[in-house]
Symmetry: D2
Subunit: 375 residues, 4 copies
């Protein structure tokens, strides 16, 4: 138990009816490292007031406009130290820009921006800002995936050969018309990528996080299965790494029976790893010729854990690990002693958009191999 | 999103080095329904001050003595509305008594007391108090177990025949000497029951919660496997219900490979249910002659959920459901409109101690069948 | 590949409509170590002729009477060398007696006899016979259970503390009236034990096979849930071993959702083992403080395997392992060089009936502890 | 129980040290529908004699040359009615040709031939032969995959959108030098495809068997990871169907921790199916918005079963289902009443080689989409 003064936090987006806003708030609250004190949560003034009140945000710190919020909070002596961005994708860029330029740390949902152009512009802004930028690729907060990364990094698998990653859902199998669904299938709000932006970027980031490698080429086949849908809802992607390693990425939002099926398998010359989101506390490891081992959160790893092995932890705890680590990094930054962390950030964000961009370029070229990040 | 004013909460016990104290704090915080403002967390003044500071409790509301805390907080206009009790078992009774008599709601860890006598005395106190008493049998907060209860209650299984429940751990397989372990194997602090009190009562409560029935007789065989241990670390118990149903309860803290293995199976004339703690979001249901069904949190049930199916939730969320429901009940009580809830309370506590007592009586009589609650 | 002359095999019982007869025939055939050449398969002459023809048995070696078959086959120069007994339980004794006394090796289904008296009488007959007696407790033919036995025997688990075994089915949840069901619930044919004889003896034998220990006392609660049933269809049994180890055995034929759910868990001071029939090729092993290991047939064990890891083997292969080993033993016996094997035999049979007998004695004494084999 | 006269069977290849030969023999024997009476099992006369003796084949029907065997057996009044071909791939064609032209039914291991040219030549021979040709794509013998096929065919899934199939192994992760491995990585014996021929064709056939569709285009990336290996040991393949459905096929022999990991997922507008080889008796089905169902061999399907649900069946039983069905088909053919069956045959074989051929053409064109079967 260490004593921490909670970081003053604001939030943009994530008001009533937004699942991900509540996720950010719980994650921020779980370890008592943040206090939510300001917000521009919803788009209409009435909804906004209502959302803010429900979050316990005082009315004088409830803003109808994010730019005004950035200005006003930067000016207050007790202004927010960090802001969480939970808007639809196309607003991530202007909001992040406003707060970073006001010297306020940013914790931003993914995909980072709706265009690669924005992503690169944001990269330049981050480079010059006196504030941290954290991207909530929350899956990298799972302890067993941190362990997986460590095993790869220290050579337990030998030279890597294969990275198989997938993320399958079924909730967009039909045109549901829900609010959650609506903006995700609208290219003006989500960006040109549908499933590749919404969940493909998670799979992409996770594969990189664990393998330590970014593919240099990909070949993609994108599909929109639901009639009238303007963005992809399924993608088959083949991957090539500079080292000679190969891989595949499959993401889908039209696979009935798939809840939130993120799965990663990494194979090297000497061993293989397997992790699936439905059992996030288990990392399977097999060294060639040896029995399969089941490495468990809380038994083989304790970092990032709140309760011992056998007391299931999951999505919110993994998400909260990102927030807790962001709190550490922010406090260290304020103390002038920047931390080395595993936090996903601006680089992950740019790479995510490079992935989306490359998928679209390849798909337009009838799945030809394209170089990633060399558009 | 509804607007809630957090309930002012105090805590007794649960200071540095106590796993369960942190669990209560996270559960209280998760839904923003409680604010921890006072405490008597540790036994020495220095540790206590340190623990309180780490929890953000002001020094003037940090108490070295729980009785003083009950008095002082009851006298404050902004005094705590509820208290969480996370001490070793033998202190649950005096602490609960002090706060209940001060009109402060109590949220108490289990087993409720260290003796059946205390449990019954507490039952009388609760009956007369103008305050609620909640017992954190947290497993009953899991949505899929609530669903199981509902299915049994509405007759999906037909008349029940069998209740098989078990709770196996391995962390006391050796004499570890850890602080967590120390008081649990000390009959002065834990009570006469070892594993039967610590985890057997959880299994017992859960079987009752789901089946809706309490056995009227049991036959038990208690064992202390670790040399020098003064309480049981393993129990085999056979159960008989008044209806003619039968059952078995096994609890063990010396079963290598068992993390926190709570498992419940209930069988009726028409169908069977199965639930295991390692996959808490899944309830298995089989109707005779039909395929097995996998009922999932977030897909088939949403109550008590924070994120959709496929985003794993677990122990802390289930625990937080008890806290969230306690908050509802407290606010309703304050409004003079008591709620009907599924919250575990004084009855579960008394029954738990009756179970422990019956096990000990049966064990002393060479596993003879004894009546439960008729000592 | 070794050259083997198939052993000439006869069969008593197991005609049309009998599941277990076909299982024995497939098991005998699988490794080409037996040729079925004589039989008394069904009870009426017409059915018998039909059954024999379907098995390719010549009409002159199709017998309506097992005693006549024993005499006639013993007299033929090309007479059967071994006989498989697949009748209802109450006939096992007279049939086995007839063939053993004729010097013909016996492979008998379980439970060995319908009474303990018969079991002991058979034990004396076997002791004097110049023929082998094999009891098809087939589960002990699974490679991973052989591995489990070996690990216990060589001390990998340290001193054993706990043996938890269960065998749950649901096919007798209702009064189905099927032929398979009919004799099993008729005490004149099945013996005094219902589920305890039919599947409890399997669980009992397996626990002994792996642990290497037989309990010396048990306390049992037997129930007949289906109205009108004259034998038990559910049993809760607590076990005590001379060493101080404890255990529990649960068998049930009224547990909806349970197919053929045999499960064994053995815990010692240093490690625990877990095996379940639904995944028979996997043995789970956990040494205290180490990751759980998944030991797989074909990967970590090859003995008793026909195909490599990942090519699922199951019930018939395990059963065939008993037959293959019986063939080895028979040939060795004929060569005057008796083998040491792990084959279940007369001792397992007597112990099985001692288990049934003890359960019934304990149940009559209101679940008092009774000594096993000391009636 | 029906009476069957066993079919007289010969075998070419599959002598000592060949895993697959023993598999064919067990499968042929399991249901007593075949009797092995002739063979040309091994390549040297000594080994051949030894192999034949071990199989109980008389020396006068042990042949050193398959052509001689075809001639001699065709001439005998009691000559073989069918032959099993278990040689390395490149010999499948000449052997099949010899026996088909001799009017002897052929049961051939896969892939059907080592070149597409041979496959097409064989197709013409089969068309003109008065004998059946069965290809042992054994996975289509699993009852739950037959059920899957049926569900797709009757529209339970609605229009299909996605077919994800994979087959991962790890046994060629290193250059082991085993006999099993040696010919599989020799393009002269295996054909131009390595993993795509050996296991990719299985995945391909299975996807077609269940979905009822053959892709019309594919894009493939083939890799040889093990230094010096002359054929692919890993393939990523993207699939396009004429209907607009998409798919992916991954096969690998260098994925540590993968035993024999065949897995199929099929998604339609209304429902999804999932099957994995490690639990072959379970078919998972999810209709959009409904609970996941676990359909079990022996409970929901009985065809192709030998024992009830819960008695695990596996690889050999599935393989034996192909043999049993071949026996039915052969007897019907002999009776002049040809059967409609689901037996894999010449078409599956040609399609398999078309798949291999298309993969190689695509790989040579830097993974361009190529038409399948239009070389």
């Amino acid at each position: 138990m260490k004593t921490h003064t909670p970081i003053r936090l604001g939030m943009v987006g994530g008001g009533k009816g937004a699942m991900i806003g509540e996720v950010h708030r719980i994650a921020a609250r779980l370890d008592n490292r943040f206090a939510l004190v300001a917000g521009a949560l919803s788009t209409t003034p009435e909804r906004n007031a209502e959302s803010a009140a429900a979050c316990g945000i005082a009315s004088e710190r409830t803003y109808d406009d994010f730019a005004e919020m950035a200005r006003a909070e930067a000016a207050r002596p007790d202004g927010i130290e960090a802001v969480s961005i939970c808007t639809p994708n196309h607003l991530h860029f202007p909001v992040a820009k406003a707060f970073l330029e006001a010297g306020i740390h940013v914790i931003c949902d993914k995909p980072m921006t709706s265009t690669l152009e924005d992503a690169r512009a944001l990269e330049r802004i981050v480079a010059e800002a006196d504030a941290l930028f954290v991207l909530t690729h929350n899956y990298s907060g799972y302890p067993q995936l941190r362990l997986a990364r460590e095993m790869v990094a220290r050579g337990d698998l030998g030279a890597l050969r294969l990275v198989q990653v997938e993320y399958a859902q079924d909730w967009l199998s039909e045109d549901s018309g829900s609010k959650q669904a609506a903006w995700r299938v609208d290219p003006e709000k989500a960006g040109a990528g549908g499933s590749i932006g919404d969940i493909g970027t998670h799979a992409w980031q996770l594969a990189r996080f664990v393998s330590g490698m970014v593919p240099d080429r990909l070949a993609a086949d994108l599909t929109s299965f639901v009639p009238g849908r303007r963005v992809d809802d399924n993608a088959q992607v083949m991957l090539r790494y500079a080292s000679g390693a190969k891989g595949a990425l499959w993401c889908s939002q039209v696979a009935p029976g798939s809840e939130n099926g993120l799965k990663l398998r990494v194979y090297g010359e000497k061993a293989g790893l397997e992790w699936a989101h439905e059992t996030p506390e288990t990392l399977w490891v097999t060294r060639l010729g040896e029995p399969r081992q089941m490495l468990r959160r809380g038994a083989q790893t304790m970092a990032g854990s709140r309760v011992p092995a056998g007391h299931p932890e999951g999505f919110l705890e993994g998400f909260a690990n990102i927030y807790a680590e962001a709190a550490e990094a922010i406090r260290a930054h304020q103390a002038g002693a920047p931390l080395q962390t595993l936090l996903p950030g601006i680089r992950d964000g740019v790479e995510g958009l490079e992935f989306v961009d490359a998928c679209i370029r390849s798909a337009r070229a009838d799945s030809a191999w394209v170089e990633i990040g060399r558009d």
